[in-house]
């Protein structure tokens, strides 16, 4: 069931990416011909022009604040994880700590981090909550299903993490005693 859902999600994104170059809304700071379209401005002293260089990541597939951007925000997605996550604890830990992937530690307290974020609740002894894997999976995949105003990124729905990544995170959290 689940991989299927994700496959649909990616299918849609994939399509969008194909038609993007032609269809991207106006006013975006992009170079549509570049591999990474998102461009970062550089201010050059004593010059009347900005210089542009590619950002570390292409951000064009998600909606911007532009008025011409008519692409909808991905809606909350319900998932149905059946059975245990079968994830890899060590991999999950890596994803949680990596600023370029989960970056969970930016908001949550996790073991072994001296400067934890305080925006989300501490996850230090997560297993003790006794939540089902399916619920934890949903929280990471798309927390908006539980709380429409959640500030936690919808890692699955927005394509930030894969099905396997989320499974690994579930396994990791459930290992925290």
């Amino acid at each position: 069931m689940l991989p299927h859902l994700i496959a649909i999600g990616w299918g849609v994104l994939g399509l969008a990416v194909c038609s993007l170059a032609a269809d991207l809304p106006g006013n975006l700071a992009i170079d549509p011909t570049a591999a990474i379209k998102t461009q970062v401005p550089r201010v050059v002293p004593n010059s009347g022009r900005l210089q542009w260089k590619p950002h570390s990541r292409d951000l064009t597939e998600w909606p911007s604040l532009g008025y011409q951007d008519k692409r909808p925000t991905p809606k909350p997605q319900v998932t149905r994880l059946e059975g245990p996550s079968n994830g890899d604890v060590a991999r999950g830990l890596g994803i949680a700590m990596d600023p370029a992937r989960g970056n969970c530690v930016a908001c949550h307290q996790l073991p072994g981090d001296a400067w934890p974020g305080t925006v989300g609740n501490p996850l230090l002894h997560y297993r003790r909550y006794g939540h089902q894997d399916a619920q934890v999976y949903q929280q990471i995949f798309d927390a908006r299903v539980f709380n429409p105003n959640s500030v936690m990124p919808a890692y699955g729905t927005f394509g930030i993490l894969s099905d396997q990544d989320v499974r690994d995170l579930v396994a990791f959290l459930q290992s925290l005693d």
């Binding site: 401005p41 604040l65 532009g66 008519k70």
Partner: protein
Amino acid sequence: MIRIAGFPLVWGASTLLGLALVQPPALSAEPAPYREMERPLETYIPHASGDRKFSNTYRYWKDPKNLDWRLAGNPDENWKLNWKFMDPPFNQAIHGGHFALDRGESLYKFLNRGGSFAACLGAGKGGLKGLRTSYPRYDKTLKRVVGLEEKIQICGAIEGRVLENGSYDNSAISLYIAGFSKGMPMRIDVSKGPLKEAFERGRRLYHTRAGRMNFACATCHIHNVGKHLRGNTVTTPFGDVVHFPVYRTKYELQSLQLRFMECNLDTGTQPLLPGSPAYTDLEVFLSALSNGYAVTVPSERD
């Protein structure tokens, strides 16, 4: 090369295209796309003192002459001073903002040798005095609201000079102009007409979620004020605008709209080009939240 709305744009080579870049928001009949909002969408008093009902740090920073320096020394309290233009290590006498000011002066004097540049910028009898405090304003010729830096780009083009919005030279001129309003309070009137409409759009936009993380400006700047995000502490959005363009080590000279781009990039949201209507509306919104607060330039922050 940056491409806008499908047209390859060679800056300077085509001033006309440059001017065509910014269109008012399309009044199309298309339904608005699905977006999520950061709530509550407050009313906001369009004055720096509106912060009293918000972070209530206004009492610490409303009077720059009587700052409580004890707060400055304390990392947990520093943010309450809202004194972002004096991030430590601050040295009033030497920072990049002063070089920019010199550059701005010579560029301005050159461009205005016939007097038409100042007139184009909307300088009245008082010259540049107070000009900064009344931007963004409604432009009768363009029939829309413009920020000062966008107007500098447009007027520069008329004088035959490329001054891209956000570029060093553009911001340097903006800084020079702001210098004539030093100590004067911001005063844009968002109570009626096109500026009120822009303020309302900006207010909504400030609360609209976007990007890879689905964050709105308000996610941090309204809901996490005083909290730590890595090494940064988020401060109140009231009273920000008066110290822009600001000297930043990483950006040399950063206009307000380049700061919007930076925050967009930091949160995985595709940034817009400086001068785009959405950014101008955000600028109107934030400028109104600085009403009554004195222009402070040249300034520096890390």
